[in-house]
C-alpha cells in the first residue's frame, strides 16, 4: 500500500494543503456549539457575561469587537447568529476547497498510477499476460486502482477530519466541564468495540457475496449465450434449478451481511442517547451540588460535542475497515507494477537482406511454467524470401507455437530463430515486429470504424492503401456493401460480421503494413475455398517478395504453397516439401490427405 504512495509525490503539496484547509473547516464546526451556547446563555437566557463563573471573556471580546452592547439581548442574539452563519459559510467554503484539493491530489495520483500500470501491462511479454489472465488484469487496472484512489482520497479528507473532530471535540468537551470527560471515557470503548466487532465480521463476507454474484451472472450468461443448446436438449428445468441454487446462495449470503449490518444503527442510537442523557444528568447533578460553573448553555453544547466525538469515532472505524480492502488492491496493483517484461529486445534494426527470411535452427519449445513434453522439438526450417510456406499438422501439434517464435511472442527454449540472417533476440522488438504481418487464429477487431481497424496495422496509411489492402484481402466487396462502407462502425468486436468477414478484415490489417513476412495462423479457415483461392492469388500477384507462412488445415489451402512443413505429433518437422513430394514421403501428410479426399475422386 505505502509503496503506491510514491505516485502521490507530484501532488504532495495539494495532499498536505488539503488537510490543513480541512482543519479550518473542523475549527469552524467546533466553534459553532460555542457560539450557539453564547447565543443561548447571553442572548436568550440573559446571563451575566461578565460573571466570573458563568461569564465568558471570549464572548465579551467578540461582542466588543463587533461593537455590540452585552446588555442588548436581541443584538447579542443577532450578533452571535451572524457569527454562526459566517463561520458556516467560511467552513463550507473551506470544505469545498478541501474536497477540490483532495480530489485533485488523489485523482492526479490515480491518473498517473493508472497510466503507469497500463504502460507496464502493455510492455509485458505474452507469457506474463497469460499468467495474470486477461480478466484479472482488467480488474487490476480498473477496480483495484479505483479502490486505492478512493481510499487515498478518503484518507486525505477523513484521516484528518475525523481525528481532528475527535480531538477537538474532546478538548472542547473537557473545557466545558471536566466531568463530561468521564462520559466520553465510558461511551467510547463500548462504541468502538461494538462497531469493530460488527464490521470485522461483515467485511470478509463481502468478498463471498461478490463470488456468489459472479456465480449468478455466470449461470445467466451461459443460459443467454447457450440458449440454443439448453432448448435443444430441453434442459430448461435443470437450468432453473441450477440458477435457483446460485440465486439462493446469493440471497443467503447477502442476508447474512445485511443482518449483521442492522446491528450498527441501534448500537449508535442507543449509545448516543445514553451519552446525551448522561451529559444532562451530570449537568443537573453539578447544579444540585452547587457547582456554579455549570450553565444551561454548557449542557446543551456538551450534548452537541459528545455526538460529534462519537460520530467521528464511527467514521474512523469505517475507514479502518477500508484499509484492508485497499491494501489487498494495492498488493494486486504492485504485482503488475513490479513485473518486468521477460522478453527484452536488442538494438538491431535491419538484418541481412540476402539471407533467408526466416530460419529455425534446432528449435525446441515448451510453454513457460509448464513441465512435460516440449511442444516443438529439434525443428530445423529455412524459409526463403518470397517463398510461400504452409504449415500443417494436428490440433495441438505446435503450429501456432512455431510461428509465435518469429515475432518473439515467446522465446524458444533451445536453439535459435533467425530473421534475415540475424537471431531474433538481437533485434529491437518494434523493428522486428514491424517486418511481420501477423493474422491471428482468433480474429481481434476493435470497436472502431472498418477503416480504422484496417489502418490499425499502419496508422498513417492513406485511404488508397486501405482500399488496396481490403481488395487483396477479398474484403472490399462486402465492405462496399456496408451502409457506410469503410466508415461503418464495428460494434462489439465485430459481432455483426460473419467469421469470414472478420478474418478478411484482419488480413487486410496485416497487408496494409506491407510486411516482409506475412503469417496467417489458420486465418482463412472461415473462408470458402473459392475466396481463399482468390485471396492467395491476389497475395502472390501483389506481394511477390513477401514471405508467407500460412497455417491451415485444409489440404486444398496448402496444396499450392511452394513447400509444406508437416508438424508431427511429437512436435518435430521431418518433412518439408511440395505437395507431390510429400505424397510420396510423408505418412502423416498422406493421412491428412486421405481424410479429406477419401475416395480419391477427381485424381
Amino acid at each position: 500500500m505505502f509503496k503506491l504512495f510514491r505516485f502521490m509525490k507530484p501532488y504532495r503539496l495539494l495532499a498536505i494543503i488539503s488537510p490543513i484547509i480541512m482543519a479550518g473547516e473542523v475549527t469552524g464546526d467546533l466553534c459553532l456549539p460555542f457560539l450557539m451556547s453564547f447565543l443561548v446563555n447571553y442572548g436568550v437566557m440573559g446571563e451575566n457575561i461578565r460573571d466570573p463563573e458563568k461569564g465568558s471573556r471570549i464572548a465579551l471580546r467578540l461582542l466588543e469587537f463587533f461593537g455590540v452592547s452585552p446588555s442588548d439581548r436581541m443584538a447579542v442574539i443577532i450578533a452571535f447568529g451572524a457569527m454562526m452563519l459566517a463561520v458556516t459559510l467560511l467552513g463550507g467554503f473551506m470544505g469545498t476547497l478541501c474536497a477540490w484539493t483532495a480530489a485533485s491530489a488523489s485523482q492526479g495520483m490515480g491518473n498517473d498510477l493508472r497510466r503507469a500500470a497500463y504502460r507496464k501491462v502493455m510492455s509485458l511479454s505474452i507469457e506474463q499476460t497469460d499468467r495474470f489472465t486477461t480478466g484479472s488484469l482488467v480488474t487490476r487496472m480498473t477496480n483495484d486502482i479505483t479502490q486505492v484512489v478512493d481510499f487515498s482520497e478518503s484518507i486525505i479528507r477523513h484521516f484528518v477530519r475525523s481525528p481532528a473532530f475527535f480531538i477537538g471535540g474532546t478538548v472542547m468537551l473537557l473545557r466545558l466541564n471536566l466531568s463530561f470527560g468521564v462520559i466520553l471515557l465510558c461511551a467510547l470503548p463500548v462504541m468502538v468495540v461494538l462497531m469493530a466487532m460488527i464490521i470485522s465480521k461483515a467485511v470478509p463476507i463481502f468478498s463471498v457475496v461478490q463470488d456468489k454474484l459472479d456465480r449468478v451472472n455466470a449461470v445467466v450468461q451461459e443460459n443467454v449465450g447457450g440458449a440454443r443448446v439448453v432448448k435443444a436438449f430441453s434442459r430448461e428445468e435443470y437450468e432453473c434449478e441450477r440458477f435457483d441454487k446460485a440465486n439462493r446462495d446469493m440471497r443467503d449470503t447477502t442476508l447474512r451481511v445485511t443482518l449483521l449490518l442492522t446491528f450498527i444503527s441501534p448500537v449508535i442510537t442507543i449509545t448516543m442517547a445514553l451519552a446525551t442523557a448522561a451529559i444532562i444528568f451530570i449537568g443537573g447533578w453539578s447544579v444540585k451540588i452547587g457547582d456554579a460553573g455549570m450553565t444551561v448553555g454548557a449542557v446543551m453544547a456538551g450534548t452537541s460535542y459528545i455526538t460529534q466525538v462519537l460520530s467521528s469515532v464511527m467514521m474512523l472505524t469505517m475507514i479502518f475497515q477500508s484499509v484492508s480492502r485497499a491494501g489487498a488492491s494495492a498488493k494486486r496493483i504492485n504485482e503488475v507494477l513490479d513485473s518486468d517484461p521477460v522478453i527484452k529486445g536488442g538494438s538491431l534494426e535491419e538484418g541481412d537482406g540476402s539471407a533467408a527470411a526466416v530460419e529455425f535452427r534446432d528449435v525446441s519449445f515448451s510453454y513457460p511454467g509448464t513441465t512435460g513434453r516440449s511442444v516443438l522439438s529439434g525443428v530445423n526450417l529455412r524459409v526463403e524470401r518470397g517463398e510461400t510456406l504452409a504449415v500443417i499438422g494436428q490440433t495441438g501439434s505446435g503450429k501456432t507455437s512455431l510461428v509465435g517464435l518469429i515475432p518473439r511472442f515467446y522465446d524458444c527454449t533451445e536453439g535459435e530463430v533467425f530473421v534475415n540472417g540475424r537471431d531474433v533476440k538481437e533485434y529491437d522488438l518494434a523493428s522486428l515486429r514491424k517486418k511481420i504481418g501477423y493474422v491471428m487464429q482468433k480474429t481481434e477487431l476493435f470497436s472502431d470504424s472498418v477503416e480504422n481497424n484496417i489502418k490499425w496495422g499502419k496508422p498513417d496509411a492513406t485511404s488508397d492503401e486501405v482500399t488496396e489492402a481490403a481488395e487483396t484481402a477479398q474484403a472490399s466487396e462486402f465492405v462496399e456493401s456496408l451502409p457506410e462502407k469503410y466508415g461503418d462502425f464495428i460494434a462489439e468486436k465485430g459481432a455483426s460480421l460473419s467469421g469470414g468477414q472478420k478474418q478478411r478484415l484482419s488480413i487486410a490489417r496485416a497487408l496494409v503494413r506491407k510486411p516482409e513476412i506475412l503469417i496467417l495462423d489458420d486465418s482463412t479457415s472461415a473462408l470458402d475455398l473459392a475466396t481463399e483461392a482468390s485471396l492467395l492469388r491476389a497475395l502472390k500477384a501483389k506481394h511477390d517478395d513477401t514471405t508467407i507462412i500460412m497455417i491451415a488445415q485444409r489440404i486444398a489451402s496448402v496444396k499450392s504453397a511452394d513447400r509444406i512443413a508437416v508438424i508431427e505429433e511429437d512436435g518435430s518437422i521431418r518433412h518439408c516439401a511440395p505437395h507431390d513430394e510429400l505424397m510420396k514421403t510423408s505418412d502423416t501428410y498422406r493421412d491428412i490427405y486421405a481424410s479429406q479426399v477419401k475416395s480419391g475422386a477427381l485424381i
Binding site: 459553532l32 450557539m36 443561548v40 436568550v44 436581541m74 451572524a82 454562526m84 452563519l85 458556516t88 463550507g92 470544505g95 469545498t96 483532495a102 480530489a103 485523482q107 497500463y118 502493455m122 505474452i126 482488467v138 480498473t142 445467466v220 451461459e222 449465450g225 440458449a227 443448446v229 432448448k231 436438449f233 430441453s234 437450468e239 440465486n247 447477502t254 445485511t258 443482518l259 446491528f263 441501534p266 442510537t269 442507543i270 442517547a273 442523557a277 444528568f281 443537573g284 447544579v287 444540585k288 450553565t295 511472442f409 515486429r433 491471428m440 476493435f446 470497436s447 460473419s498 503494413r513 479457415s525 475455398l529 473459392a530 488445415q553 486444398a556 496444396k559 481424410s595 475416395s599 485424381i603
Partner: protein, 621 residues
C-alpha cells in the same frame, strides 16, 4: 449544526457490487408510465403483505419516538431554572428528581426506538432479499421460456444488467425507499405539529428556508447528476479500452501498437481525472450548502425565539431548544425525500424494463399430441416453407424438402443462403412464416416442444459448454446416464483420450464456458454430448470446423456409426464432410437450386460441381 451532529446515523450503505453512494441517482432516468408500473410493483410487494405492513408500522412507531425525543430533552433541560437571588444576581437551580425521571424516559424511548428500528431493519433486509430472489427466479424462468429470437436480438449485457442492477434497484426501492419515505413524511408532519405546539410564529419562520432548501438541493442534484453521468461514461470507455487491448494483447504486440494504445489510454485516463475532480467537488458542495441553510434556519429560529422570549411571549428557553431540535428534523426529511425520489424514479425505470421482459412473448408450446420421442422414425418434410428474420428480408422462399427416416442429408451453400435457418425452423427456435414442417407426418407445431426437441440432438459450430464437470456436460442431454454410458460416448467421439489425460478426468471442472479447453477439445465434448443423447434426428451445424482434419477423420468414423439408423442433417462448408451424404441439397438465396447424391450432382455439372471444383481445384490438377 444542521446535519453533522445528527443523532440519527447516516445509513450505512455498503452493499457489495456497487459503485459510489451516488449510484442510485447516476442515471437520472425517468419511467415512461409511472402509475401502472407502480401499481404492478405494489402487487409484487403484496406477496409479502404482512411483512410490509409490519415494517411500515414499526417505522411509524420509531418515527414517532424519534419525534418525541427532542421534546423530552427539552423538558429535561427545562428542569434547570434561573432563580433571582435577593441581591439581584441570579442562580441556577434544578429540579433534580424531575430531571432524572425525564432522562430515564429519554433513554427508555431511545432504547425502544433503537430496538424497534433494529427489528424493522432485519425484517426489511429479509423482505428485500426475498423479493430479489423471487424476482431473479421469475426472470430466469422467463429467460428459459423466451424464444431464441429474443436472445438473438437483445444484447446479452442488457439481459445481464436487468438480472442484477435493475432487480437490485427495485428491491432497494421497496425495502428502503418505502420506509425512508414514510419516516421522512411522518417526521415532517410530526415535527411541524410539535413546532406548532410551541410557537406558530417560530414555525412560520422555520418554514421560510424550506423552499430555498428544496430549490437549491434540486438544482445541485441536477449538476451532480450531469457530472456523474459524464464520469460513468468515461469510466466505461476506460474499462473498454483496457478490456479490448488486454484481450487482444497478441494483436497489439504483433502490430507494435503498445505505445499507441498507451497514448489512447492516457488520453481517456486524463479526461477521466478531470471529470472525476469536477464530479467530486460538485458532490462535496451539497453538504456545506445544506449546512448553511440549516444554520440559517437555526439562527432565524434562535433570533425569533429570543425575541419572543424577551418580549414575554414564550415562557421557556427549553422551547427554543426544542424548536431548534425540531428544525433539524425538518430539513433532513426534505433532503431525504428529494434523494429518494430520484432513486425511486430509477427503480421504476428498472421495473419497467423488468416487466417488459416478463411480458415478452414466450415460445408457443401448444402441441398436444402424445408421441414418445422413441417412437419417432424421423421422416422430415418441409412444405412450402417461407421465413424471414425480419419481414422485409425473406431468408427461405417456398422451401420444399423431404428427408426419409435414416437418411443422411447435407445442406451446402454460401454464407447467408439459409442453411442454419433450416435448422432453426426444424427445432422451432423460430416459427415459420408460411408453409409447414412435419416429422413422421406430424406438424411440428402439434408436437409438444419437449417431445420435438428430445428427438433431435444438435452440435453447433460455437460450442456451448457449462461451468460444470466434464461428466455433467456430456450427460447434459441425458441426465440419468450412467458413468459407463458417459465413457462410451466420449470414446465414440474420440474425446476419451484427452479427458483421461486431465488431472481430474471426467470430474474436471470446466471454467466459465469451457475456457480451459482448446476449441477442438470443446467440440469433441459437445459431440460426445450428442452421442450420449442418442436422438432420432441429428443436426451437425458446421460441427467439425474447428477440429483439425485428422481428428475430424476420427470423429467422422464415429459419426458414420452414430448416423446409422437416424436422420442426419449436416451443414458444412467443408465438402469432405458431406460427400458421403445420401442427399446433398444446395441452397442459394433461400431456395433449393440442386439436390442429389455427390456423384449425381457432380455429373450434373451445376452449382455443386463448381463448389466442388473450387474446393479441390488444387488437387484435381
Amino acid at each position: 449544526m444542521a446535519e453533522k451532529n445528527e443523532r440519527q446515523p447516516a445509513r450505512v450503505d455498503f452493499r457489495p457490487g456497487r459503485g459510489g453512494p451516488m449510484n442510485a441517482r447516476v442515471n437520472g432516468e425517468k419511467p415512461k408510465a409511472m402509475l401502472p408500473t407502480l401499481a404492478r410493483l405494489f402487487r409484487y410487494i403484496g406477496r409479502s403483505r404482512i411483512v410490509v405492513i409490519a415494517v411500515v408500522l414499526l417505522t411509524v412507531t420509531v418515527t414517532i419516538l424519534e419525534i418525541y425525543g427532542p421534546k423530552l430533552q427539552q423538558q429535561a433541560i427545562d428542569t434547570f431554572s434561573l432563580v433571582k437571588n435577593a441581591d439581584g444576581t441570579s442562580r441556577l437551580t434544578v429540579d433534580f428528581d424531575l430531571l432524572v425521571k425525564k432522562l430515564i424516559t429519554l433513554v427508555a424511548i431511545n432504547l425502544a426506538a433503537g430496538l424497534i428500528s433494529f427489528a424493522s431493519g432485519r425484517m426489511g433486509a429479509r423482505l428485500a432479499q426475498k423479493t430479489v430472489y423471487l424476482m431473479r427466479r421469475e426472470l430466469f424462468e422467463k429467460i428459459t421460456r423466451l424464444p431464441i429470437g429474443y436472445t438473438d436480438t437483445h444484447k446479452h449485457g442488457d439481459i445481464m444488467s436487468r438480472m442484477t442492477n435493475d432487480v437490485d434497484n427495485v428491491s432497494t426501492a421497496i425495502s428502503q425507499s418505502l420506509t425512508t419515505l414514510i419516516s421522512a413524511l411522518l417526521t415532517l408532519i410530526g415535527s411541524l405539529v410539535m413546532m406548532l405546539s410551541y410557537s406558530w410564529i417560530m414555525t412560520v419562520v422555520a418554514m421560510v428556508t424550506i423552499p430555498l432548501t428544496v430549490f437549491v438541493s434540486s438544482r445541485l442534484a441536477k449538476f451532480m447528476r450531469k457530472y456523474y453521468v459524464a464520469n460513468q461514461v468515461l469510466l466505461g470507455r476506460l474499462n473498454g479500452q483496457v478490456e479490448e487491448s488486454v484481450t487482444g494483447y497478441r494483436t497489439v504486440v504483433a502490430y507494435g501498437r503498445e505505445d499507441a494504445e498507451v497514448g489512447k489510454f492516457g488520453g481517456i485516463s486524463s479526461e477521466y481525472r478531470k471529470s472525476s475532480i469536477k464530479a467530486r467537488v460538485w458532490g462535496s458542495v451539497m453538504g456545506p450548502v445544506m449546512n448553511f441553510l440549516g444554520n440559517l434556519q437555526y439562527v432565524l429560529i434562535a433570533a425569533t425565539g429570543g425575541y419572543l422570549f424577551l418580549n414575554g411571549r414564550l415562557e421557556s428557553v427549553g422551547a427554543i431548544q426544542a424548536m431548534l431540535q425540531y428544525s433539524k428534523h425538518f430539513t433532513r426529511p426534505i433532503n431525504m425525500i428529494a434523494n429518494q425520489y430520484a432513486s425511486v424514479l430509477t427503480a421504476l425505470a428498472g421495473a419497467e424494463r423488468l416487466f417488459e421482459m416478463l411480458d415478452s412473448k414466450e415460445e408457443t408450446d401448444e402441441g398436444r399430441l402424445t408421441v414418445s420421442p422413441e417412437d419417432i422414425r424421423g421422416d422430415i418434410e418441409f412444405k412450402n416453407v417461407d421465413f424471414g428474420y425480419i419481414p422485409e428480408k425473406p431468408v427461405l422462399k417456398d422451401l420444399n424438402l423431404s428427408i426419409k427416416a435414416g437418411q443422411k442429408i447435407a445442406i451446402v451453400g454460401a454464407t447467408g443462403s439459409g442453411k442454419t435457418t433450416v435448422v432453426n425452423l426444424l427445432t422451432r427456435f423460430y416459427e415459420t412464416d408460411g408453409g409447414r414442417i412435419t416429422i413422421d407426418g406430424y406438424d411440428i407445431t402439434d408436437l409438444p416442444i419437449e417431445t420435438l426437441r428430445n428427438t433431435i440432438a444438435i452440435v453447433l459450430q460455437d460450442t456451448v459448454l457449462f461451468s460444470d464437470t466434464i461428466r455433467n456436460n456430456i450427460k447434459y442431454g441425458k441426465p440419468d446416464a450412467g458413468d459407463e454410458a458417459v465413457r462410451a460416448a466420449a470414446h465414440t467421439a474420440n474425446a476419451d483420450s484427452f479427458i483421461d489425460r486431465l488431472p481430474d478426468g471426467y470430474d474436471t471442472q470446466l471454467t466459465e464456458s469451457g475456457g480451459n479447453l482448446s476449441a477442438g477439445q470443446r467440440q469433441l465434448l459437445s459431440i460426445s454430448r450428442a452421442v450420449l443423447a442418442d436422438p432420432r434426428i441429428l443436426i451437425l451445424d458446421e460441427a467439425t470446423s474447428s477440429v483439425d482434419t485428422r481428428t475430424e477423420m476420427h470423429i467422422q468414423q464415429a459419426m458414420v456409426a452414430l448416423m446409422k439408423n437416424r436422420t442426419s442433417l449436416i451443414i458444412a462448408h467443408r465438402l469432405s464432410t458431406i460427400r458421403d451424404a445420401d442427399v446433398i441439397v444446395v441452397l442459394r438465396g433461400g431456395r433449393i437450386v440442386e439436390s442429389g447424391s455427390h456423384e449425381e450432382l457432380l455429373a450434373a455439372g451445376g452449382e455443386y460441381y463448381s463448389l466442388y471444383r473450387n474446393q479441390f481445384a488444387g488437387i484435381a490438377t
